[in-house]
Symmetry: C2
Amino acid sequence: MLDAARGFTPADAVVKNGLVFNPFINDWERGDLAIKNGLVIGIGTYTGKTEYDLSGSYVIPGLIDAHVHIESSLLAPREFARLVALHGTTTVIADPHEIANVAGQQGIDFMLAERPGACIDIRYLLPSCVPATLNDTGGATLDARDLGQFVGCDGILGLGEMMNVPGVLSADPVIGEKLRLFSLRDGHAPLLTGPDLNAYILAGIQSDHECTRRDEAEEKLRRGMYIFIREGSTERNISDLIGLVNLKTVARCCFATDDCHADILCDKGHIDRCVRRAVECGLEPELALRMATLSAAERFGLSDRGALTPGRRADFCVVDDLHQFIVKKVFVMGKVVHPAHSVPRKSPPSPFTCRLPSADELQLTGSGEARVIGLVPHQIITDSLRYTLAAHEIPDIRRDILKVVVCSRYRDKECALGLVHGFSLKRGAIASSISHDAHNIIAVGTSDAEIHRAIEGVIRSRGAMVAVVGETPTILPLDCGGLMSTLPYPEVVQRLKDLHKVTECMGSIDDPFMYLSFLALTVIPSLRITDRGLFDVGESAHIPLFLQ
Amino acid sequence: MLDAARGFTPADAVVKNGLVFNPFINDWERGDLAIKNGLVIGIGTYTGKTEYDLSGSYVIPGLIDAHVHIESSLLAPREFARLVALHGTTTVIADPHEIANVAGQQGIDFMLAERPGACIDIRYLLPSCVPATLNDTGGATLDARDLGQFVGCDGILGLGEMMNVPGVLSADPVIGEKLRLFSLRDGHAPLLTGPDLNAYILAGIQSDHECTRRDEAEEKLRRGMYIFIREGSTERNISDLIGLVNLKTVARCCFATDDCHADILCDKGHIDRCVRRAVECGLEPELALRMATLSAAERFGLSDRGALTPGRRADFCVVDDLHQFIVKKVFVMGKVVHPAHSVPRKSPPSPFTCRLPSADELQLTGSGEARVIGLVPHQIITDSLRYTLAAHEIPDIRRDILKVVVCSRYRDKECALGLVHGFSLKRGAIASSISHDAHNIIAVGTSDAEIHRAIEGVIRSRGAMVAVVGETPTILPLDCGGLMSTLPYPEVVQRLKDLHKVTECMGSIDDPFMYLSFLALTVIPSLRITDRGLFDVGESAHIPLFLQ
């Protein structure tokens, strides 16, 4: 290696004539990039066994996603890797929070087992909050001892987004035990400010990806936090936050995608999309690239990447135009990436010890003033609405009030029923085994028969997204923990599009499965539904459907 | 702690009305700085049991020296700490290279034992090159196994300046073993460039403090190195290098003092002096402060300091004017520093198993064309001069050719004799137990009797700097390994000044002890003298005094 670096022997590969981005000077430099054994060995004048002429191109260190839930892509990790690699991403920091809520340690084991053979480097932070709350019933509980078994495992970097802010602030010993497991701790503290923010940081939490306001992000950055600016499927914060980034602050700013469906990743991109969006919003390309490379590498102590200097991984992508930023070639460990589809070697446990609800169970009774969950377009918050109605009037297509059903995935128990406004379905039903964070089965529809059929489709597939019109189901199987598919990503994207075509015919709003998946999320206002029934977030209590 | 951060209970101390430097935004902010248990718990609005009104002042995170040899101050570590603390330094990264060359592991043990009770935080890197070369005979050899015993010790951060560049480049396995001990490795590679620099970095070396040229520093920084810009007693690089520092590069630039005598530290300052000098040279004060705080903390993975944000050490200094930059108050772990003198609890071994040379031994014989070491003003390089002379003509005051003597400190053996030009002594002699890096006894003088008396003074004190005129010795005892004094720093400074007064009366150039201490340094061109005789650096061989 040293002899090759000194130019005495040829390198394995040399990339010539490109403009190489150097984040240490936030600028470009010209020079041969010499590679051996997967590492950069030098920049200068070199010869190699293989030489790439990249005249007219920009060579950029591999892009890094600072926070992502791979499960949200609907792809198994190696397939996710294959898809994002094509967009220039070579490292992701993932939190297997979703699969851990379904399958506990075995879920994490599965995600770890996917690392070898993935065409990019996947690193994990351990999910700090499983279950996320005690308001619904998921598949697992992970305490500090459970998490402790992963300390020192290859691929585990630290503790993932600590979303139990009250627990941190009140010095809950259970939280303290988890925080002490690792020195690297990611945060999750939307809108936290002032003395409480100070306390949260004092407790040892170092980053946040939940900022939605510029002043919020700036306060957190001043207090020493890394800010991950997020652009996911629905959470899109770049336009609001990017003004924070300048030469003074860029070392503490990264990009994250958090939750992104495969179709968005495929059609719009991954961290490349973040770079494009940031540049569209007025950021200098070099600052965006610094965020996507060295800043993220340094945040996670990954001193072996983030720049193309001797001893670091030869992970990089090639683009021809900094504003269009279309990645045309990607190298991982010095080799061009041509990833092939691979089926996971084994699956995580996918518990479906539930039963199909009977027709009786799906039947709603009562009348009077009812509480109805109101969707809010482009938001994951919901409204708490009230309508006067009688159960037999449901579905009330005119007023857009539909039945919503939650069936436990994990227990043989009765399902919970509620009402929702805003899906705009005129016919049919949809169901899914993705419902944050417990991931019970959730369905909404215009008839009990179609709801029943949709739920049946989910259970039969042992996890799926299903749309039913009449007798015809359209299915995207999520055979991997009920959250991810083992299919190749083009097929997953196609099936997602098929599902959306069907729901469009039903009269649905765009992307109804996304809204559906958040209806059980009891940490976000206002009204939710869990496997135990209707839930008022403000009151932090389950409540009856009809007002007494 | 959390309750205090949240403002529910009072802090231990609150610093009010100061402008606080925030390196995360490279700017100033106003707000109460709240402290508890030695840590910052918040910035905002707080009340404390003790409150400090710092209206009109700047509050700056404690300054950090990224590379220093404490021994060069002539002070024992706790006394050194006391002196630099008054200048705003609260953390130093020290390399006990000098004492290790004298006393090996026990020397390092001594330095570690001084950490508790020091008023600042002293962290060490292990000396990587003991002995520095095989050309002279020091007191110890430290191989990887010896160094390995310190891995994991409190206060040890990594491997110190790897100065054996040829060993690194040729993949010397002995060097490789040492490099593998730590992931943090400081470098020392003056003027290294191009492919060899790539190879040196590829070998895992991450920093350099030996840059003297702007283009040199810029190349190293581009290749991913941290650059420690040095301003020591004699090595003063700020004016040449500071142009390298800007918002794009500042995160990788730090200050270092390397070697600084107590008198310079006392009269001119420490890292505060670097900040002043950098600002004089045109750097924005905020960039200089970023270098002196967060950049250095991050280089050494010290995430508990470098900024005044929740959870970090409440180490800071207070100044009234950013350009004068006179430190008027210093806090360490939230308390005002009022350091008192403390004598080291124990001393390192200070081997003086040598003997006083006899009058015969000091006698030079021969005549003809002689090789004479030529001092170069303000440099540590020397010239290799030639003069036609006879031994009995020495001292040749007219031509300024004096006798130089090296006596082993470690072995009962004959001394080595040579000739030197440039000290300009008209009478008397000086001797010292500091001579890099083996630290044998070295003397120069105008008469054998005075040389003899000076060496005797060094040996009697078991280490000292001595100036003799006639029968009268003036002594600064270096009772601590023959390198450091256990006296309080004001006394050391006074005695240094007394010595310089005497040498001035002798007709000497300024600071002759400094020049003397480098005459045995066989890694720097051109002509040197060791305990084995005259040494030609170019030839890497000992050579006779008279040309044959």
